[in-house]
């Protein structure tokens, strides 16, 4: 259901939250899947290394970690909008309680 009056900040925040959670799910599926397939129940003889890392740690954790950093930079500076968060209202707790009505001037 669309809401024509919806604040663009809300729409943008919802979209960004979905993207962030999507990134979490993709990272989880890939990392758990790769590490489970290549990092569980192997013999030491089959182990190879990339830098200090066992192969499964490097490809299953270090590489996606690096990709996440790149995506975080893209996310922060290309996708995430720089909308104003709005001006602050001065609220006294007794008054802000129960609804905190914003009085339009």
């Amino acid at each position: 259901m669309s809401h024509p009056q919806e604040d663009p900040v809300v729409t943008a925040a919802r979209r960004e939250a979905c993207l962030a959670l999507g990134m979490w799910i993709v990272a989880m599926v890939y990392t758990l899947g790769y590490c489970y397939l290549h990092g569980y129940g192997r013999s030491v003889e089959s182990l190879t290394f990339v830098l200090w890392f066992p192969d499964w740690v490097f490809w299953g954790i270090v590489v996606p970690w690096g990709i996440c950093i790149l995506l975080s930079i893209v996310f922060a500076f290309r996708i995430m909008g720089d909308e104003s968060l709005g001006e602050e209202i001065d609220a006294d707790p007794a008054e802000s309680a129960s609804g905190g009505e914003v009085r339009d001037a």
Partner: protein, 541 residues
Amino acid sequence: MPDAAPSVGYGTFVMLLVVMAVSVWLGSQAQKAVEKGGFVKGYFLGNRGLGAWALALTATVQSGGTFMGFPSYVYAHGWIVALWIASYMVVPITGFAVLGKRFAQLSRRTGAITVPDLFDARFGDQRLGLVASLAIMFFMTFLMVAQFKAGAIVMKLAWPGTSDLALAEEVASGGIDQAYFVGLAVFSLTVVGYTLIGGFLASVWTDLFQSVLMAVGVVILFCAVVPLASQHGMDRPTLDAVAATSGDYAFGPGLSKAGQAAFLPLGAALSFFFMWPIGGIGSPAGMVRVMACKDNNTMRRSIVLLSFYNLLIYIPLIVICICGRALMPQVPHEDEIIPRLAIWSTRDWTGGSFVSGLILAAPFGAVMATVSTYLVVIASGVVRDIYQRFLRPRAGDSEIRRVSHVVMIIFGLIGVASNIRPVGFLQLLIVFSTTATASTFVTPAIMLAFWRRATAAGTMAAMLAGAGTILGLSVVGSIVNGAAFEPFKLAGLEPIVWGLTVSAVAGVLVSLVTSPPPAELVSRMFDVQKTTGRRPAAVER
């Protein structure tokens, strides 16, 4: 090899004093900053002025326990701990991009200072704010009290000449003695003192200070230890550690001691992908810091800063501890691996004792920052959400200031009193409280931020169902496992997965079967607000 216990010397003690002095100084600086604005917003929210560094390094990093427990896990169980912590790769994104913008916006739009304030204002129901406040105070008191013991023990261990090197679950040699009590007293006075004078900003700045200290320590340790362990090849640390233990050290589910359950079967690995990124979203201390951030640009820069910070801390720490196992295969207490590596690897350096002292003082800073953070959140709960809201709505600044100080002193005394005979199952208590807080608040926070149809009853149901699930699994686990706070792991999953699931289902179902929220209230929270250029508006009932 260097397995024999090295001497601590004066380095740690001196660095501890330095950390305490800097913290008190930061507290006094924070006090000056607080005085620039109104007391409540300044003292409990830093006048919404948190910059990118402060936000990045303090809003999502867990308690000092994460840093302290993590190296010993790597040393004990091997490379699989990299998978245990792997979800930190998305923590910067989930921590700021899921709720950050909306929380910052809504808290400004409603004038909310605390998380319960925000629930109250968003749903127009004081009961919701009260339940949120009570839940935060209940779980966070557990968390805070547990940290006092950690602080006291670090002080005791730092005393020159001691033979123990690190914080362990069991109190070190000599048990609960005079040194422990002196440690407890000095620790409590310092942390309550600087928090009391500087409030929220004091807790944030000391947290930032210890985070930087931790990063410096990790970098020094990496440069000192890793080249030593890998001088015959980068694969040597792992192969040497495997030779000293078994092949399990290099693979999942990890090396376990005889008779112990596997460290990280697949179900547990899945659970920790919920625990860190999703659990972090629901931390009340984290949520309030997002509310305090200066602007949207700050949040964007924080995402990037934290991404690099996590990479800088966690991946090197794993490599360091794997090297530790190769260099010192038989350390008697696993918690001592970082102190031992620090002292041993800097022993020939000029001023090496102070360098190792810096590395050892970092966890102490982390514990202080954690207590300080919880103290502010708890005090704001009592003062803002209960005293000011229900007892003395018209209280002036000076009265609120006095009450805030009294509340902090009372909770400081509770922390001290609870640790005169400290509880044993400290780590389990911390895990229980963290899990319960996340399960209580993640779903309600998402409903608050994004779902127009969410109702006060639905949100209340989500809170109670999340908390109830964790309490239930803990009670069942205590009975089945015969150990307090040892949770029942249904289908091999950690309680947080069930807590979040039950909370989400309850929140959605109860919202859908209750009457929709008032359209006018929803519009105020979600729609464009008409303004005429004047400063928007005071709030009126």
